[in-house]
């Protein structure tokens, strides 16, 4: 169980290997990686800057992860989110969940990224030819997170 915020790129292979090495109770590993797209709506994106709320970010990520661990029998989980300036093609976030069976691993992974997108205090400042603008929250993200309410 581990969450981290960092400026450096995410070494996906190393993160996943660290989660699973030596734990032979793991039968399935679910992973989601978010990347910077070069297009937003109609506009070409040159880059973006991710701001966050140090302290609260880690608390929220830990709370999200604890909720996933309470809902599914996880053997390991990990959230790594980048901040600072990113360009198209760059990794933004890695979430991963390992469990004995695949359904728990996949469901917990989907849960983590849905909740992270509505609860973790990160904000994207997107750069297009029209200038820099703060990305608006998407209603579809709230709807995705609401699926998990109970």
């Amino acid at each position: 169980m581990s969450v981290r915020v960092q400026e450096e790129d995410i070494d996906i292979g190393a993160e996943l290997a660290e989660m699973t090495v030596g734990n032979h109770a793991i039968g399935g590993l679910g992973v989601f990686v978010g990347l910077v797209r070069d297009i937003a709506g109609e506009a070409a994106v040159a880059g973006m800057t991710l701001e966050h709320y140090p302290g609260m970010t880690e608390r929220q990520l830990e709370a999200i992860e604890a909720e996933a661990c309470a809902r599914w029998p996880l053997q390991a989980s990990r959230i790594v989110h980048r901040v600072g300036r990113l360009e198209p093609g760059d990794n933004i976030v890695l979430v991963a969940c390992a469990s004995a069976h695949r359904q728990a691993a996949l469901d917990a992974t989907a849960f983590l990224i849905d909740w992270l997108k509505t609860k973790a205090p990160f904000w994207k400042l997107e750069e297009t030819r029209a200038g820099a603008h703060w990305v608006d929250a998407r209603e579809s993200d709230d709807a995705a997170a609401a699926r998990w309410s109970r």
Partner: protein, 83 residues
């Protein structure tokens, strides 16, 4: 009381954080927002539509009727867009 601002709330107000001493009748987030609005045009602009703003007290999400006290860390920011 320490107040933090993020994203466009920070840009409109012009600072990322500040120490403030609201008058003693400011006991809730709503009252704090009303008081902050009086501090200048940047504040008024930032808090023009409070439906677009989220608030955390001591790093936990709260609603506008949540109490605030002098030792609190209060943060205002737009809905999150990470991930």
């Amino acid at each position: 009381m320490k107040v933090l601002y993020f994203a466009w709330v920070r840009q409109r107000i012009g600072v990322g954080h500040e120490a403030v001493t609201p008058p003693p009748e400011v006991l809730t987030i709503s009252a704090l927002v009303d008081w902050l609005r009086t501090r200048g045009p940047g504040y008024a602009e930032a808090f023009a539509d409070t439906r677009a703003i989220r608030c955390a007290v001591n790093q936990e999400y709260v609603e506008p009727d949540h109490p605030v006290a002098s030792g609190d860390e209060v943060a205002f920011f737009p809905p999150v867009t990470g991930g």
